[in-house]
């Protein structure tokens, strides 16, 4: 097999076309901005005159650009392997993701009127782009981890002779050994496939980031709503503690929490035991306050929910080789590798105070509403008012912040990997890969750039999604 070029035979006519379209678009976009400053826009007539023409040209050219980019991707899927270059081959590997995305978008747009806030997302362009980016990485992560699709090589396998080789390099003796014929995005400094490591990295993020954010929200809500509702001493103490953690520079905290010495003393295990109990407390109080008047039903519900969650909780914190190793193996549902647990705990720990502050200020405001006073006169308990009257009314800002915070958690995970903390050094997560690639960055930038751009696109997607959700939830 010969070396792949970036665009293959597709590029012969698509590359010049793309260059011309991009140049024209840039010129027109600048022109449009200049015109909008020079020509005073008459009220309500933005579509007429010179500025109107420029605006139309920008829109047409932008459409053309998008169409050309799509042509590369579609061409890659349709044409035989290798003819459409690296871009085409990558596009072909992502075929399951494209299909899944098209199905999700088609279904969601068809039924968007019946889907509540999620459906409204498809009324805003920003929201749709963000959702698309996020789902792209979610599907990639799932397909890589569950079915082994998309990735072309084992992310840990080293093939001699491919160290730091440029994108599109052929793998020696690939057909005989049943290997994929190329390293699509080149090899890294240990001769591993950059492309496969990048797509495997998405699973690491999707595994940890949303779940860690969820736990941070559980902690923040369980402590923040009472702090805002009751105020006084409780609020003072909790706010002081939250500010204490927030005044720590995050990286210092990570260095203090995620070193092998600290792991030896078992502090992360104790923190896990404390932090992971909050979902149990939350759901216990939630159900108890709702069904307090119907003890028979409440007891069954509580026993079921708390029993199941308690079992998961105990298997979560019980790890062989740490301070909590009390559960026999047949009862222990799963074990989390030590490194991931430490990373998880520290990310939750860093995020929880910020969530606490947001929830607290939201509930401070909600506590003054009339329906709260009505519930108080009705004689409802404090927890019922907090969790069943106030919390549902705070859901809009909380959902938006949840999306933003997943992005922030992704950045934090990358930071941990970048400093080589927590996760094992051969782990394919994006931060570790960037860290490994940065040493030779000025000579071989190709191993570090793909994970960097992947992380950027995922966080950008989450930010855009949050923006779209905020816009749509403000409309009503």
């Amino acid at each position: 097999m010969e070396q792949l070029t970036w665009t293959g035979s597709l590029g012969t006519f698509l590359n010049p076309a793309l260059a011309v379209a991009a140049a024209a678009f840039a010129v027109m976009a600048v022109l449009q901005v200049v015109l909008s400053l020079v020509v005073p826009a008459a009220r309500g007539s933005t579509s007429r005159g010179l500025p109107g023409l420029a605006g139309l040209a920008v829109r047409v050219l932008f459409g053309l650009l998008v169409a050309l980019c799509l042509a590369y991707l579609v061409g890659g899927v349709v044409m035989p392997y290798g003819k459409a270059g690296i871009v085409g081959a990558i596009s072909k590997r992502f075929l399951p993701v494209w299909i899944a995305l098209i199905v999700v978008f088609a279904l969601s747009i068809t039924f968007k009127r019946r889907l509540g806030l999620y459906g409204k997302l498809f009324d805003s362009n920003i929201g749709m782009i963000g959702f698309g980016l996020v789902m792209f990485w979610v599907f990639t992560g799932l397909f890589v981890a569950l079915f082994g699709w998309i990735a072309t090589h084992d992310p840990l396998a080293q093939i001699s002779g491919l160290k730091n080789k440029l994108p599109g390099v052929p793998v020696p003796g690939a057909p005989e050994n049943g290997l994929w014929p190329h390293y699509l995005l080149g090899g890294d400094n240990l001769a591993r496939d950059v492309f496969s490591r990048m797509v495997h990295g998405s699973w690491e993020v999707i595994q940890i980031a949303p779940l860690a954010t969820l736990f941070a929200f559980m902690v923040g809500i369980t402590l923040g709503v009472p702090a805002g509702y009751y105020g006084k001493r409780l609020d003072t103490v909790l706010s002081f503690l939250a500010n204490l953690i927030l005044a720590f520079p995050v990286i210092l905290l990570f260095y203090l929490l995620v070193t092998p010495e600290i792991v030896l003393t078992g502090i992360p295990s104790y923190m896990a035991a404390v932090l992971f109990i909050f979902p149990l407390v939350f759901f216990g109080v939630l159900l108890n306050s709702r069904y307090r008047t119907d003890p028979a039903r409440r007891n069954i519900l509580l026993a079921l929910v708390l029993g199941a969650m308690g079992w998961v909780y105990l298997s979560l914190i019980s790890q062989p080789g740490t301070v909590f190793a009390f559960m026999p193996a047949w009862l222990d549902l799963f074990d989390i590798p030590g490194g991931i647990l430490v990373v998880f705990v520290s990310v939750v720990f860093v995020n929880a105070p910020t969530v606490f502050r947001i929830v607290r200020s939201l509930s401070l405001e909600l506590a003054t509403r009339d329906y709260v006073a009505a519930a108080q006169t009705r004689g409802e308990t404090g927890w019922y008012i907090m969790l069943w009257e106030m919390l549902p009314n705070a859901r809009g800002p909380l959902i938006v912040d949840f999306c933003l915070r997943i992005g922030y958690t992704t950045i934090l995970l990358g930071t941990l990997g970048f400093f080589g903390l927590g996760l094992p050094p051969e782990s394919p997560d994006w931060g570790s890969t960037i860290n490994a690639g940065r040493k030779l960055l000025s000579i071989y930038p190709h191993p570090a750039l793909p994970p960097a751009l992947a992380l950027l696109s995922l966080v950008l997607g989450l930010n855009l999604l949050a923006d779209g959700l905020r816009e749509e939830s403000l409309k009503d």
Partner: protein, 348 residues
Amino acid sequence: MLAFLLRRSFTMVLTAICLTFIVFVLTNLAPNLEKVAKSEAGSRITDVEVASWLEKNGYAQPILIRYGEWLGVWPGWTRTDDQGRVTGRCIEQGADPAAAPRRCGVLQGDWGHSTVFKEDVSSIVSTRLWQTAKLMLWVMIVMVPSALLIGVVAGMKEGSRLDRPLSTISILTTATPEYVSGVVFIGIFASSAVGLKWFNGSATSAMDDMTFVNFTLPVMTVALYGMGYIARMTRASMTEVMTAQYIRTARLKGVSFSNIVIRHALRNALIAPFTVIMLQFPWLLNGVVIVESLFNYKGFGWTLVQAAGNNDIELLLGVSVVSVVVVLTTQLISDIGYVFLNPRIRIS
């Protein structure tokens, strides 16, 4: 106002004490101390020898007393060995024990000795902090005006032709952490293989001789991440002000648009970004650590990484104290500034 200041300062001091105590405990855990003993007295010593070394060097006392000694409020330990020689925390090697001060800690200006750099912590911290201050100064010079400009221009006409691209740019920069933008910048501007080779990928030479070539990329990298956030806050604040009643009145009076923006709206719109900029300092500290490691600029953040990575307890403590104090001071300034700038807020 005075009561407010006093209360805030009291909280600040309490926070600082709590934070330094936490750092002290976390850096002085048993495994860390064992590592120190082994690196000072030989890596093959037995557990008994480790214990006796710790005992001899004052590490075996209760943690609260040791924290007090480090802080300088508790008298430093002294110890008389079998030959009658007196050693102690505050007694220099070979110095006269009688002349040594009773207390020596952070409050007395004695920050301890770094095991990595073989130097006094206070001198390391002050030189490194100066390097970082230069970086921060340039970051602020680049970041604050451009962020405010983007925010004000985008926010003065919501949904205008300029608003959309500028808002998109600010979202993009908030989604780009320093280690991503740094890597991308080096790939584009500094890489010797494919890049433009405009700037240096390393800023080591910028420590003594700062030039456009070797200092642009680190400054840009730190500034970019914070810029989007400040710009978005400014935009939100600006759009809110532009819909206010008094702006409408001014327009109806026939005041020109540029006059409204500059004379009437800007002042009120910049109150919120001020607090945001002050609160950005902790995040900048974060970015500084990443950028200094990435560009090999030996400043404060780089020192933090070295201290933490090499188990240099006293240096790490010194670095933590400085960063905690920086964060808390900026919080205090932001609170006070907010009250000064916004006459509607009255502190009871």
